[in-house]
Amino acid sequence: MTDPVLALHDLRLAFKGFTGTTEVLHGLSLSIDRGERVALVGESGSGKSVTARIVLGLIQEMRGAKVSGRLRFQGQDLDRLPKRARHGLRGTAMSMIFQDPTSSLNPAYRIGTQFREVLARGTPGITAEAATARATALLDEVAIPQPDRVLAAYPFQLSGGMNQRVMIAMALANEPALLIADEPGTALDVTVQAQTLRLMRRVVEQHGTAVLFISHNLGVVREFADRTYVIYRGRIVEHGPTEAVFHTPGHPYTRALMAAQPRITGGGVPEIAERDAQYGDPMVVHPTGAAAGAGA
């Protein structure tokens, strides 16, 4: 009960290539409590997306990838878990939603078919009727007006926002303890994105799902996350309650990131100096307990 949903300790990732080994993550530590929404913020290439994929175990399946450090999920040591059991967590205990909703759904199958398969992961042998009923309920929950029409449709027949909601509904279908959201909705229209995020926030609160929220967009993070980790070049440079990080950014990189952020919540990668000697400064940690409630 006291165990965090997810705890990463000294996570390192290296790729073996033609020219030798390249380390991508340099000892990253991070934890998420039950029902907590945690953001991992950084520019593209900083290592935030691979972190998400390591949690799911996708990177470990790639050839040439070497992962070290400890990964604990709900008190279990993921690395010690047998492969099958580890695999079994995906889609059930942890799930993920992706950047581009439309291309992340299989174009060759109807939404209903794909939904049923997801449900079957959690409830093997689920009947078609039960699956449809459950899917309808879930779609209803994410405010999709005509669930049966959507279930009968192919992804390319739906709008991006609609597909995003479908994906959220699917991700929550098996009541996972952890939801990983990788730049959700970046491919969408700004207003649609905002709507979806509000919706997602509401739903995860209802389900009590912990969220690892990955984004480069500080505005979005500020709206969504309880706690924030700032990542730069494979290292966490600052972390603490979201409000604290935003109010008093301690690390030069965080400050640069925030300065580059447009005032209005919007897309686009912040333009900041490629490299700065100061960015190598030690990690800044904001005390957690004091501001824990501020974001809620």
Binding site: L56, L58, E61, R63, H87, G88, L89, R90, G91, T92, S95, M96, F98, Q99, D100, S103, S104, L105, N106, P107, A108, Y109, R110, E117, V118, R121, Y154, F156, Q157, M167
Partner: protein, 341 residues
């Protein structure tokens, strides 16, 4: 289904235009040849007078445009003229020889799909590892030698040194299968003669495989390429994130979407097979249209050449229309194109 119908109509229309183009092209080629078709037709012992008569009878003394129109008019009546090679109407020859070739090509096409696609799937599934390299080498070897080389090799190995397959022909002696479709495999089943059916399969196996080899290579490489591309698609990663086993991802998530572009190319591969059948039929003494085509080309049998090329092109277009329709049926994007708009 309305969209599928629209695809069909559009393709049929284009095909007719293309076929007219083909007929003009082949007709033009056939008329610019050096040598007098009438003399060739009449053979060695004809007199000059006979040659002149035949020239008039064949309209060879008229302008080429008039000749073409005459040709089209006859074609409309199903008359392709007489073959100098068999001394029979070309239409009759084609009707007799086409089914054997089509049967060979269909079986080879089935082999191509049944062997090529799984090979491609395996290669993509194990991308960059030894099965991938192995499939790549097999596929490339298949493509790298002309089908007549494979035909000769297969015959030597499986009919001469290891006499487990028949050498030539379509059916063993002692069977009598009434002709209904001209496809002996089908006819033997229609005749309710399973032994004859087995015999037809036994006979068609080697030539079909020799013909299919390069197609198998093409199909495998293509499927691999498309699946590799599909594997990089977000929905495959999403499928992985839901923990599907890899074999399931390969068959269900990566295969179907990558089949759609593959199908089009497989349709084109039929064209190659129609051509390569020329080589394989020669080796296995397969009494098909391709072998007929070779003979008439070597003998400058104009009517027969024009007829054969037209029919083969038509067959090719039909196969491609079928492939397009299949694609339309498999690919929901085309099927629902109207609703999407």
């Amino acid at each position: 289904m309305q969209a599928v119908l629209r695809v069909l109509l559009k393709r049929l229309g284009t095909s007719v235009i293309v076929l007219i183009g083909v007929s003009m092209l082949i007709f033009a080629i056939a008329r610019v040849i050096p040598g007098d078709p009438a003399r060739i037709a009449l053979g060695p012992n004809a007199t000059a007078e006979q040659v002149e008569q035949l020239r008039t009878a064949l309209h060879l003394d008229q302008p080429i445009a008039v000749q073409y129109l005459e040709f089209l008019r006859d074609l409309g009546q199903g008359d392709l003229g007489m073959s100098l090679y068999t001394n029979r109407p070309v239409a009759q020859d084609i009707a007799q020889f086409l089914p054997a070739t089509l049967e060979l090509i269909f079986v080879a096409g089935a082999l191509m799909i049944l062997i090529g696609l799984p090979l491609g799937m395996i290669a993509a599934r194990y991308r960059g590892r030894w099965p991938d390299d192995l499939v790549r080498v097999i596929a490339m070897l298949g493509v790298s030698a002309p089908s007549f080389v494979w035909a000769v090799v297969l015959m030597l190995v499986f009919a001469f040194f290891l006499p487990i397959f028949p050498v030539a022909g379509r059916l063993a002696e002692g069977f009598d299968v009434p002709t209904v479709t001209g496809f002996l495999t089908v006819d033997s089943l229609l005749a309710g003669d399973p032994a004859a059916f087995v015999s037809t399969l036994h006979h068609i196996a080697l030539p079909a495989f020799a013909l299919a080899l390069s197609g198998i290579g093409q199909a495998a490489r293509l499927t691999r390429a498309n699946m590799v591309e599909t594997y990089d698609r977000p929905y495959v990663e999403m499928a992985r994130s839901y923990g599907w086993p890899e074999h399931r991802i390969a068959t269900r998530y990566a295969f179907k979407p990558s089949l759609i572009p593959s199908l089009t190319i497989i349709g084109l591969d039929f064209a190659a097979m129609l051509g390569n059948a020329f080589l394989v039929e020669a080796v296995f003494a397969w009494p098909g249209l391709s072998r007929y085509g070779v003979e008439v080309i070597l003998r400058k049998d104009l009517n027969a050449i024009v007829g054969t090329v037209l029919v083969i092109s038509a067959a090719f277009l039909i196969v491609n229309i079928i492939v397009d329709l299949l694609t339309a049926v498999i690919n929901p994007r085309i099927r629902y194109s109207e609703r999407a708009k």
